[in-house]
Symmetry: C2
Subunit: 312 residues, 2 copies
């Protein structure tokens, strides 16, 4: 009976690695640099090497390892992906390549989807099987888990929830090329955009503690917590976009719980409260009470989720 | 090896029944009345009786039957449901009750979800595994199929896509109690609503062939096909609501195909064309080319889908 598994979260700068017991206990975590030169050809061999070293160091045999899960920034489907720009990769069969190097079973997933699986396993949605996870960072990412499994989607675009269209009145493009994506109004940068818009519209006599120069999602939420009226308008606009969109997603998925993560989620309970208010205002009656909670694993969600994927 | 299965679609007036071969060939279909008296206590015994009679008539033994699938108008989860208003039912364990009466394996699902499964099996999405089906009738229903399985949802509300919030400026309630649901602008009745709104707004000098008295989705699409400018505005508003919402759903599910069914879909290719145009305008790049097609099974989708469910 396999006792261990590895969770590997490959990012553009570092590869986060975790050795886990199959019950979800994190034994040890560490990082190695991501070597992107020559089309990222060294990345998976480096991963294989660090795993071999860790096994030797801990005196663990391969028979004791259920497998390796890998999260990567790209549209993974069936353990392969057509490209991963941030790693320099073209087409890559992660399962075959890393499996061949290590002799261990390998399962791969998109990094945001895998992080969602981590929150389901040992984070904000622990014990649940159907979950929407939204990551509010520089962009808006996320993952959809149904009956314990990631929704990969037929083009590997399942859970690309930052790119729901929510606003006709945005005329500069999103990173994806479209106009008016959720990401443009609900990410950290989106919240700063809304703050600049509201600041430009405000009555010159209105006082605000918000410094518009260098405004961030954090300074907006700090001002909101202090009762600043401008910040309140910004946070309400943000929360209406996000809460309404989550309500729409919820008539598709009807999840047990919705998890909010990423840098913006450091705002804490006030974030959950205001998003829940807009969610409930328009959510289908049967799902109005669906709990919205904070993510718990922070930057470790990826290694937890990829370790969980290895057990699938 | 079982050769047959039954598909049973229980509606408020009639129960549609189908005897199928397990490869999806419809052997025979028929209907019995839905007896709703005494809390609908007779409905499942009537179903059991008609199945027993059909088996005898055809000389089929129960060993040859894989099972019975049942579609019902209510929030089914794990073969049970808490209520089905249109049938007079309170809490009902369909699997246990009908299984007990027939001695055959029984699987139950929500009628709209089951119809979606039918379209996946032998209709507009044949050969696909991940599908969004939208039924544009008196209301807007639908079903989400991922990897060949219905998304039931944690409250049995998976696929309740008619109740996505799409319009803040509607002040009369939807059947669900909310305001501004997709159903209020994209069902047959919703299209008639939009027609009345656009008619009221039009310049009195503008001519239209649309008879606003007794306007229906059909008369709107008929006028649209003849190039009527008012009908064009109505159809464009409808298609923008629907296409944009389907694009949002598609970043959750990333389906292989989207199927449009229900009475409104009789408008045919012009419906597909205009909805596709608004879908593509805002859909995430990887999914812009997701085909949107017409449903093919009409009122038989329910018996096909429930028969398919019996094979799950």
């Amino acid at each position: 009976m396999a006792k261990y598994c590895f969770g590997i979260d490959i990012g553009g700068t570092t590869v986060k690695c975790g050795l886990f017991e199959t019950n979800g206990t994190l034994v040890e975590k560490w990082e190695i640099p991501t070597h992107k030169k020559n089309g990222g050809e060294q990345i998976l061999p480096d991963v294989a090497e660090t795993i071999e070293k860790k096994l030797k160091e801990k005196g663990i045999s391969k028979e004791e390892v259920a497998g390796i899960g890998v999260g990567v920034p790209g549209p993974v489907r069936h353990n392969k992906l057509p490209f991963a720009v941030n790693l320099g990769w073209g087409e890559m069969d992660i399962g075959e390549t890393l499996g061949g190097l290590t002799g261990l079973p390998v399962r791969a997933g998109n990094d945001a989807n895998v992080a969602a699986l981590g929150e389901m396993w040992k984070g904000g949605a622990e014990g649940k099987q159907s979950v929407i996870v939204v990551t509010l960072g520089t962009g808006v990412g996320g993952g959809i888990i149904i009956d314990g499994h990631i929704v990969e989607g037929s083009h590997g675009a399942g859970g690309e929830i930052g790119h729901a269209h929510v606003e006709d009145d945005i005329h500069d493009p999103c990173g994806c090329g479209n106009f008016g994506c959720l990401e443009q109004v609900a990410s950290a940068t989106g919240i700063a955009r809304l703050a600049r818009e509201e600041y430009a519209k405000k009555d010159p006599k209105e006082k605000t503690i918000l410094e518009i120069e260098g405004v961030t999602a954090k300074t907006v939420f700090d001002a909101y917590k202090k009762g600043d009226a401008l910040a309140e308008r910004v946070v309400n606009r943000f929360a209406k976009y996000l809460g309404t969109t989550l309500a729409s997603f919820s008539v598709v998925v009807d999840p047990e719980v919705i998890v909010l993560g990423g840098g913006v989620s450091k705002a804490g309970d006030v974030l959950v409260d205001i998003v829940s208010r807009y969610f409930r205002a328009v959510a289908f009656p049967a799902i109005k009470q669906t709990p919205i909670v904070l993510a718990q694993l922070g930057n470790d969600a990826g290694i937890y989720g990829s370790a969980r994927l290895a057990l699938d």
